[in-house]
Symmetry: C2
Subunit: 215 residues, 2 copies
DNA sequence: CCTACCGATCGGTAGG
DNA sequence: CCTACCGATCGGTAGG
């Protein structure tokens, strides 16, 4: 232990600073996003105050504005990060799957994105769309189009092979709607696992697919 | 927590009413519910001010509180009235339909409730659930259970006859989720009619049903 | 249902 | 990242 420095400086007001590590700033920002996503999901964007968010991150009321320009910027960052993570997860899953099981892979990855651990970001996107400005909306919509493209591809294949009777767009909207609704009723602890849920969804929507490809 | 049930408690003070016509007060109250539903749907409950609502109804800022105890009571009244109307519509539709077409009837009525003219009440319920108090939630949940009971009945029949492969509860959640999601993307003007949408949903969900019973 | 108003709270900022 | 603070806004109320 080194002896305490006798620094003659005026004692800074407030809580003594921790050691300024290089990664610290990014960590604090990330922590803000995490707790903001959680609160936005539970209480909604408008009903969540920046003071709520600061407190949940162990900060004072003005401090979130050191990391984000505004409350609106925080909401946007939550959705953007959520969509980027979702796209990554989707791509990883599809890369290691056979073409026949594409649909199953998409559903399984989607449930993980919606209901897996730490998954508040996409639910916030689904339920706070109207809280975005037009500019923000356009940016997130671009990411969503990439995400949906994978679904359109898989669904078109199933339409052409007669496994699905509806045009691919309507099928995609209905299918994703059915899955997205699960954030309203799924309870991780009790009930089915995400694996079982995936099987049930596949059996319901593509019953004519070979059981081997359905799972 | 406020007692937000729609108890029309009359305030003792205030200017004596003009013409004490029975319908007049109800009309203003009904108008408030209508514009509140519209605003709650567009901007969300927390982001809608009671001043917004008053202005949309052509009133001054304090006047909504003559008709409703609180903003929370207004939200509850919107959802309650929406559910009562939905139950009525569902019952009417089922009363005049053959048992085989039960499923088609339910889907068609549901689209009407969600997307038909003047249909802001149920979308508000779907997207502002978290803005209710626990007591309010319990009251609306009771109405929802009645609404879902009709679906459970129809879906159990389809499970037993092999038209649907999943347990009735999961099937109900997935179906209603798929339909409910339509409030996010359906545009009344362009695109399919509600009748066409119903046919597409039926073809997607119950492809093995006879075409005659599907429509 | 209007006028006039209040107390609380909110997003955000200056300066360190 | 904190302290101290501001201007705006909000839900709600008293009294008529």
């Amino acid at each position: 232990m080194s002896e305490a420095h006798a620094v003659p400086q005026r004692r800074p007001r407030g809580r003594p600073r921790k050691a300024p590590e290089a990664l610290d700033e990014g960590n604090r920002r990330q922590e803000l996003l995490r707790v903001a996503a959680q609160l936005f999901r539970r209480k909604g964007f408008a009903a969540t105050t920046t003071r709520d968010i600061a407190a949940a991150a162990g900060m004072r009321s003005g401090s979130p504005f050191y990391h984000f320009d505004s409350k609106a910027a925080l909401l946007f960052a939550v959705m953007e990060q959520g969509m980027r993570a979702a796209l990554q997860r989707q791509a990883d899953a599809l890369a290691g799957a056979s073409p026949e099981k594409q649909m199953h892979t998409l559903v399984r990855a989607h449930f993980d994105i919606l209901l897996g651990p730490g998954s508040d970001f996409i639910p916030v996107m689904l339920y706070e769309w109207r809280s975005l400005t037009a500019t923000q909306r356009a940016a997130i919509a671009r990411l969503q189009r990439d995400y949906e493209a994978a679904w359109t591809g898989a669904l078109q294949g199933l339409c052409e092979t007669g496994h699905i009777r509806a045009d691919a767009r309507v099928a995609r909207l209905m299918f994703l709607g059915a899955l997205n609704w699960s954030v309203q009723w799924y309870k991780p602890k009790k009930g089915a696992s995400l694996e079982e849920l995936t099987d049930q969804a596949m059996q319901l929507f593509v019953p004519t697919l070979d059981a081997g490809d359905r799972r």
